[in-house]
């Protein structure tokens, strides 16, 4: 059984004269562009010729999404933080489409620690900004008199990044291990039946069985983790305000 788990590939590389890589764009970034394109197209399609009284199903769907996000922000963060709604919705749509894109054959965007780290850093910046805006710079700096607060401050983005990355990447690894095991099982069954493995190389057991795991790891876990990410973002921002 040979299980090879690989990180994101280098898609575009800028080479120097002697052939060493100066700068390269990874698979996650390219898939991220596709995700951004999907979100952009969705936005454009959903908000095309809006009417005051909705006539099309499209506009009803768009209004439903906006209303759901606004309700969520209002119940979790309160009325005066409604300005954060676009950020929350954008991060949520990026993460959920970036995770679910693995169902159509791409590598999940969030199975790369750079992507989740960047998202967590954005949230961390926003939390710090909220703290300084509502409590003042002096009070924010004064909280570091207790050095334990530095650790808890650093732990916030680290744990957010690792949680999203670990869940998606762990699911990917388990799926790959299952694929390897099923491939070994197929070839040993072929061997037992006395068939030549070079001719019957098709892995019969890899059909269908991984789909059951994919429902959990790709669909359920991906949706739950993106929901958890934005819920934690909202909770931390609300805590930062107080």
């Amino acid at each position: 059984m040979n299980v090879e788990v690989q990180g994101p590939k280098r898609m575009i590389s800028l080479l120097s004269d002697d052939g060493s890589i100066i700068f390269s764009i990874s698979e996650s970034v390219v898939t991220g562009w596709i995700v951004i394109l999907i979100v952009l197209i969705l936005c454009l399609v959903l908000t095309k010729d809006l009417k005051k009284i909705p006539e099309t199903k499209r506009q009803c769907a768009a209004e439903y999404i906006v209303k759901t996000v606004n309700n969520m922000i209002e119940t979790n963060m309160g009325r005066d933080l409604m300005g954060y709604a676009p950020y929350i919705a954008a991060v949520f749509s990026y993460i959920i489409i970036g995770t679910l894109i693995s169902m159509i054959g791409f590598r999940s965007v969030t199975a790369d620690i750079s992507v989740t780290g960047a998202l967590a850093l954005m949230t961390f910046t926003l939390i710090t900004y909220t703290k300084i805006r509502y409590n003042g710079l002096g009070k924010y700096l004064f909280s570091f008199v207790n050095p334990l607060n530095i650790i808890s401050e650093v732990a916030t983005p680290v744990s957010m990044a690792l949680r999203l990355f670990g869940n998606v990447c762990g699911g990917m690894i388990i799926t790959m291990i299952l694929y390897g095991a099923l491939g070994t099982l197929s070839s040993s069954v072929y061997g037992l039946l006395g068939l030549n493995a070079d001719v019957y190389y098709f892995n019969i057991f890899q059909i269908g069985i991984p789909a059951v795991l994919s429902i959990y790891f790709d669909l359920f876990s991906g949706a739950i983790q993106s929901y958890v990410f934005i819920m934690l973002t909202m909770a931390y921002i609300k805590m930062g305000k107080e």
């Binding site: 788990v5 690792l162 949680r163 670990g166 762990g170 958890v228 934690l232």
Partner: protein, 95 residues
């Protein structure tokens, strides 16, 4: 490649595999914690069925936070298994 280096590399690889397995012991804690949280949430829903939505979403947040330590263990195991962090210290010293 001489024999001493080969032996040393085999020892390092074996240690990495054992360490990755031991790191996943961290999965016990989140398992117990999440089971407890879900049990309590079901108790709450059984007592007050009208707050099912709130209880479920709060439970998922709690589960995700409880999962963090297990994810740290998984991260350590991934690093040990596929990134071979200790092999590169070996080449200079042995052989």
């Amino acid at each position: 490649m001489n024999e001493a280096l080969l032996n040393a590399q085999a020892t390092v690889l074996a240690g990495q595999a054992i360490g990755a397995g031991l790191a996943m012991i961290a999965g016990i804690g989140p398992g117990i914690g999440e089971g407890y949280a879900v049990g309590k949430a079901i108790e709450t829903i059984g007592r007050q069925p009208e707050i099912k939505g709130t209880a479920t979403s709060t439970m998922f947040i709690g589960c995700a936070v409880a999962e963090t330590t297990g994810i740290y263990g998984l991260f350590v195991a991934i690093v040990l298994l596929w990134m071979n962090p200790f092999l590169k210290h070996l080449t200079g010293t042995v052989g």
